[in-house]
Structures are given as structure tokens and as C-alpha cells.
């Protein structure tokens, strides 16, 4: 396999609430022969707050990263694990094709945007497209036998399709295919792209309790023993807020919520601590002990 080399945008949550996503992403990518080069001095993409305030502010915060990534030699794409960062970087790149928007954003930047901008993809997309399911299946050492897992994609990994340009916007299959390649059972889950409540956990927790509650209920009804996600905000809502959700809805879910990179890592032979599993709030220890035994 030729070396796959990418400009890597870790995203702010990877330094805090989703450390284990960043850790497992880096380890798994290396094991799959992918070289990640951090974008020099990357900054916050602005996340949801920036685009709710102004398109040009959001565009400039993302654009600085797109410009900095251009300094890295020998890469054809920028990749990021976080769908919110992904959506911002991709939307910004898309809008910057328009000369008027580019001119306005350039007024805000120290180093203006010139010429072509590297394409932006998710880590999920390049694992599916550049590594491929055959290669992944071949590298599995510890298949995730006897584990039924619900694949939850979150709302913006694939939407809107005109910007995201990957997988189906209504019934994506990338995580399903990865779970299958890892030897796990894919639990039926028809709320794959429904919103979890996003960043309303702080200011309007009632929204997250209702929307994430629905997701947990469906996963449990469909006999999933865990859920897998690719989004730090979905993961935080479903995992760290699971107790708040249980209290609000009078439910008793004890549903581990994995990042897909953690599951790939376990199947490739990494240890639980190398995948940061102890950082999950709802512990998967029992589930993994049961599956191993």
C-alpha cells in the first residue's frame, strides 16, 4: 500500500471532551498506513456559534486553517474527525469559490486565501475510500464478535449532500460497513441521521434530553448493546448526558457510546487503554468482558 498522507485538523474538543477520539484516530490511522500532519498552529473553526453570528466571520475562522494547510508539502486533502469542524471547513471552502465572498473574508485575514484550496474530508470518508473495507477486514486481529451495535451518524456528517459529498444523506452506510468489517453485528437503527440536540445541552438541555432520549430508546428497543458515533457532540450528549436523559425521561439506559475509531482500534489489536476507553462515562467494560468471554 502506498503511503497515504493528509493534513490533519484535530478540532478543539480533541484537546478536552473528546480526547479519546483524537487519541484513537491518530493510533488507528497510523496502523492503517495513513500519515497525519497537523495543520500548523490550527485555530478553532468557529463551530456552530460562528455561523449563527455571521457567514464572513465563520468563513474567516475556517479559512485561516485552509490557508495554513497549504503550507504542508505532499498532501492532497485535509481530514478531520469532527463533523462540525468538517461542515464548517467544507462550507467555507465551498463559499470561498465565490469571488465576492472570498474578497470579504480576505479583508479579515492576515494571510489571504489565494488560488485553489485543498479538499476537506472526514477521517471516516478516507478510511472508507482510501483504505477500503477489504484492507480493513484483512487487518482485523480481534473481531468484535457477539456485539450488537447501533450505527449513529449524526445530522451533519452527510448533510447537506451538495456540501458534504459523501455517502447517502438519508441512509448512510459507512459506519454499518465498518462494523460489519470488524465482525460486529449491526443493530437496525433508522434514526441514523436524526439530530441529538447538538450544542443545546448547556442552554436548553430539555432539547437534548428529548432528542438524544429518542436515540437511546430506539437503540435499546432494537437490542443494541452499544452505539457507535463519529461526532464528539453526539458522543457527549449520548454518553456524558445519559444520566441527565435517564432522569428526565424516567429511563434506565446503560448504553456505552463508542467512537468508531475506538472500535476499529480494538479490532486491530490495540488495548482498551490505548483507545482511551476508560474516558467513556458509561463504561463499556462489562460489554467487552462479555464479548471476550
Amino acid at each position: 500500500m502506498t503511503t497515504l498522507r493528509y493534513a490533519y485538523y484535530p478540532g478543539c474538543s480533541g484537546l478536552g471532551t473528546s480526547k479519546e477520539y483524537d487519541m484513537s484516530t491518530r493510533a488507528v490511522c497510523e496502523a492503517l498506513g495513513m500519515e497525519l500532519i497537523d495543520i500548523p498552529d490550527w485555530n478553532c473553526c468557529g463551530s456552530s456559534p460562528a455561523h449563527t453570528v455571521d457567514d464572513r466571520l465563520a468563513g474567516a475562522l475556517s479559512a485561516r486553517n485552509l490557508v495554513q494547510a497549504g503550507d504542508i508539502e505532499g498532501v492532497d486533502a485535509i481530514i478531520t474527525p469532527c463533523p462540525s469542524c468538517l461542515a464548517n471547513l467544507k462550507t467555507s471552502r465551498h463559499r470561498l469559490q465565490k469571488p465576492e465572498f472570498r474578497a470579504e473574508v480576505n479583508k479579515l485575514l492576515e494571510r489571504p486565501v489565494h488560488g485553489d484550496i485543498l479538499p476537506v474530508k472526514s477521517v471516516l470518508q478516507v478510511i472508507v475510500e482510501d483504505v477500503g473495507m477489504e484492507e480493513l477486514r484483512y487487518r482485523v486481529r480481534n473481531p468484535l464478535k457477539d456485539m450488537s451495535i447501533a450505527p449513529y451518524y449524526g445530522c451533519i456528517m452527510n448533510r447537506p449532500p451538495k456540501i458534504m459529498e459523501f455517502d447517502s444523506q438519508e441512509n448512510p452506510m459507512a459506519l454499518d460497513n465498518i462494523l460489519e468489517a470488524l465482525g460486529a453485528t449491526v443493530a437496525p437503527f433508522n434514526l441514523k441521521v436524526e439530530c441529538c440536540g447538538a450544542s443545546f445541552g448547556v442552554a436548553r438541555r430539555d432539547i437534548v434530553e428529548r432528542l438524544s432520549g429518542k436515540l437511546l430508546n430506539l437503540a435499546a428497543e432494537n437490542k443494541a448493546q452499544a452505539m457507535v458515533t463519529a461526532c464528539p457532540l453526539c458522543q457527549m450528549n449520548l454518553d456524558a448526558r445519559q444520566n441527565q436523559i435517564n432522569v428526565a425521561n424516567s429511563t434506565n439506559h446503560v448504553m456505552p457510546i463508542f467512537y468508531f475509531t475506538q472500535l476499529i482500534g480494538l479490532a486491530l489489536g490495540f488495548s482498551q487503554s490505548q483507545m482511551g476507553l476508560e474516558k467513556l462515562v458509561v463504561s463499556p467494560r462489562e460489554l467487552l468482558a462479555g464479548a471476550a468471554g
Binding site: 478536552g16 480526547k19 490550527w42 479579515l108
Partner: protein, 186 residues
């Protein structure tokens, strides 16, 4: 029943601004309701999204910019993805939020405070500093007990850092905000 006299209250300038800033043609909406059918947050909206589209067509600035729904849109892109006329409805909602903010409407103070706290954190450090922005949020809102129940787990698991991880070139970021205020903010 709330009656709106359309001929007296139609604000053409508002219609033009929404169309220009969002880059969308409001006339393309034929009120099929697909956006509302897929909207996950309709249950907290005071005006459902297809009615916001209709009010925009009718130039009802006051009703639109003063509603709660604008602040509660999760930007999940369901409406944009499913619109049969390819209207970027989520971008219209974003545009309306921008306008509401500029015109001094803030019907969901908590949501606005969270947004402001987040961006203040980014302006200061170049990156979002989670603990810091939560402190800013509780100061702004006086809701000092927000998510304190999450703190023990997050702290013991090392997921809530006490220090920011700033960018090296902080000025590059703070200047983006500064220039933005000079160039575009009113």
C-alpha cells in the same frame, strides 16, 4: 386568532435583505411543509419553519425576527436536504439569526449567551476552551449550577482541562474578530 394585514405590514426591504444575504429565492417556496415535517426541534418552536418561510415571503419582519424558533434551530440541515425546490432553508434560518442579532432581538437569552461565551473564548485563545467558556456562560446567565453534575466524571477522566491550549499566533485570531467588527458590524 392573530390577524396580519399583509398590505399594510409588508416590508419589501426585509424581503430583499433576506434574499441577498442568504443567496436564496424566497418565491421558490410553495409551502409543502417538508421542512417542518423533518425538523427535529419543532416541538420547541413558537413558529414552525415552513411558516417562517411564508412570513418571510410576506415581509413580516417583526414576527420573524422576534420569534424564538430562530435561536432554537440546531442547524441539522434536514430542511435544506429535503426541500424539493433546493432552497437552503437552514441558511435562511442562519441569515435570520444574523439579522435578529444585529437588530437587537434576543428571545433566547441563554442560547445567545452560550454563543457569545464560545466566541469570546475563541477570540481570546484562538481555540475553544471548554471550562473557560462554561465559566463565562454561568457569569452571563447567573445559572451557576449548569452541568455541575457532569463535572466529577469529566474531571476524573481528564476531559475537562483547567488550562486553555491556545494557538501560538493569538493575534492572528483576535484580529479576525477586530477586523470583523470594524468592517461589517454595525
Amino acid at each position: 386568532m392573530h390577524v396580519i394585514n399583509l398590505s399594510k405590514t409588508r416590508d419589501q426591504d426585509f424581503i430583499n435583505r433576506v434574499e441577498r444575504e442568504s443567496g436564496q429565492n424566497l418565491s421558490l417556496c410553495y409551502q409543502c411543509g417538508n421542512c417542518t415535517a423533518g425538523c427535529p426541534v419543532t416541538f420547541v418552536y413558537d413558529i414552525p419553519v415552513h411558516q417562517i418561510m411564508r412570513l418571510c415571503q410576506a415581509g413580516q419582519k417583526e414576527a420573524v425576527l422576534g420569534c424564538h424558533s430562530l435561536w432554537l434551530c440546531a442547524s441539522c440541515q434536514s430542511c435544506t436536504t429535503r426541500c424539493p425546490n433546493s432552497i437552503d432553508v437552514a441558511h435562511i434560518m442562519d441569515t435570520l439569526r444574523h439579522m435578529a442579532r444585529r437588530d437587537g432581538y434576543a428571545t433566547e437569552y441563554g442560547v445567545k449567551s452560550f454563543t457569545d461565551s464560545f466566541l469570546e473564548s475563541v477570540e481570546r485563545h484562538g481555540r475553544a476552551f471548554e471550562l473557560g467558556l462554561m465559566m463565562l456562560y454561568t457569569m452571563k446567565t447567573g445559572k451557576f449550577w449548569t452541568d455541575v453534575d457532569l463535572a466529577p466524571a469529566m474531571l476524573t477522566k481528564g476531559k475537562l482541562g483547567f488550562k486553555p491550549h491556545p494557538v501560538q499566533n493569538k493575534e492572528a485570531i483576535s484580529k479576525i474578530f477586530k477586523r470583523f467588527r470594524e468592517e461589517f458590524a454595525q
